[in-house]
Amino acid sequence: MADAGESLLRFENVTVDFGDVRALDNVSFEVRQGETRIILGAAGSGKTVLLKTAMGLNPPSQGRVFLSGDDITKKAEAELFDVRSKMGMLFQESALFDSMTVAQNVAYPLINQKAFHAMPRDKMVESVRDSLRFVELEQTMEKYPSELSGGMRRRVAIARAVVAKPPLLFYDSPTAGLDPITAHTIMALIIKERDVDNTTALVVTYRYQDGNLVANFRYNSGSGRLDQAGTSGTNTIFMVLREGRLIFEGGQAELEASSDPYITKFVKRPEKNAA
């Protein structure tokens, strides 16, 4: 495993309540630079809430969230816009803006984030093109999201999340509702993004095979395919949420060795060279 990098995100006893419903219950963890965290959990276990809390979209009821050592818990919405520019998020249903073209969707963070206000237009167009080329959808720039398939929309949303080159990325159920081939393409893109731009990521999923792929494969820029990672592996940590509580945090071997019945339901021992 790689050396521990600087702390990018820290949850300190975070609890999130929606009325009488407790979505996150006293969750604490720390994400260091270069790590990929796979967050497993059943529907309603608080996975999405965790990501949204990390982005400052849901304020915690108790506890504190730190981004690069900076406490974002009490920040006003206007201050949070700057904080969020350091993060990119792929939403569960892609959340592309229906009234905008693919190019306008991908350009949205560049147009609206303060850090890019001085960016010349031709440079912006180039960044959008690069980002769409990364997800192999350069030809769809002038199309509207409604003209794209579910998998293509997910890829455009990845392009939008990475266009501003944020150091921290959140993927909310990136493979949910996709066929196995498209799901593999999406996971391959997430691995490619990690290995090309060396980003830190939190990947929320209910499919263990997604985590297995991230933990054991690397992007080969020469062949453009995924290769089995060497003995050093990848800097991947697994977390398991159950009814808002963090019940496991550790490496893949520990996860697979766990005898917790909830965890074993997720962890089906897959063939590691299945990719």
């Binding site: 949204k52 982005m55 979209l57 919405e77 206007a78 949070l80 816009f81 969020r84 520019s85 993060m87 998020m89 939403f91 569960q92 249903e93 959340a95 592309l96 803006f97 229906d98 949205y108 963070p109 609206n112 984030q113 303060k114 939008r160």
Partner: protein, 255 residues
């Protein structure tokens, strides 16, 4: 008892917070001028056909009924006067606002509601934009500009509808109808005729945005938000009409 009141009080508080932030943003940067123009086209220009249809038939039916009553006193010639006062003071603003509420408060609620349930509102916040600045304020400004304009169109076409009925059913002359209709109107009538739709426009846009942005529960929730927006906007139009009318009636009595 207190628990039962908690929900409605919280909703009122949330509505006032949204109203405050939307109005405060009018003076704050960034201004999304493109969105304001787009909404003016959608809310204003898009509502012209319905305002024309409702206006012409309202004026026509008023002339038909009033003309018959006035005939009993030999005052058919005053039809234009009666039609113009009722239209400009009351029916023009109220009916235009209710029509726009039916078309746009529900339209705004369903559009924003769909964006909410598909996480587009969260995406907007995540990508560096304040949804109230980007979505609510342009709709509030566009409705506040366009509703008085639509009311003027509705008033004029209503008077024209009244004239057509007056001419063909009661043999009124054009000069007689239009000169009385024009002379009947004072500044106070025109003032309240324009102030009412301006104030009512906030009911249309803010209820549409409020119920849209608090949508939960998928597509079923969008349907619910649409209905609630239209019902509350329409009810408040009549409430506001009464209070603005009250101010002008009392003010008029002292002048």
């Amino acid at each position: 008892m207190l628990d039962k009141l908690k929900g409605p009080i919280q909703e009122i508080q949330e509505f006032y917070q949204l109203t405050g932030r939307a109005l405060r943003n009018v003076a704050r940067k960034p201004h999304y001028v493109d969105d304001i123009i787009l909404q003016m086209d959608s809310i204003g220009v898009g509502s012209i056909p319905i305002v024309l249809l409702v206006g012409i038939f309202t004026g026509a039916v008023m002339a038909l009924q009033l003309g018959r009553e006035l005939q009993q006193y030999g005052q058919t010639g005053r039809t234009g006067q009666a039609v113009s006062i009722i239209l400009v003071r009351e029916l023009g603003p109220v009916l235009t606002s209710v029509m726009v509420a039916g078309r746009n408060a529900s339209g705004i609620a369903s559009e924003l509601g769909s964006m909410k349930v598909t996480e587009q509102i969260d995406a907007m916040r995540a990508l560096g934009t304040d949804p109230i600045q980007k979505l609510v304020t342009p709709r509030v400004i566009a409705t506040a500009i366009m509703l008085p304009c639509l009311t003027v169109i509705g008033d004029l076409i209503g008077m024209a509808g009244g004239f057509v009925v007056g001419k063909y059913f009661y043999d009124l002359k054009a000069v007689q109808y239009w000169s009385l209709a024009w002379r009947a109107l004072g500044w106070s009538d025109v003032g309240q005729g324009l102030l009412k739709p301006f104030i009512m426009s906030f009911s249309v846009s803010l209820f549409g945005c409020y119920f849209g942005l608090k949508t939960t529960g998928g597509t079923q929730g969008v349907g619910r938000a649409t209905t609630q927006a239209m019902v509350w906007a329409s009810v408040f139009i009549f409430v506001l009409d009464f209070f603005v009318g009250l101010i002008f009636v009392n003010g008029g009595a002292t002048v």
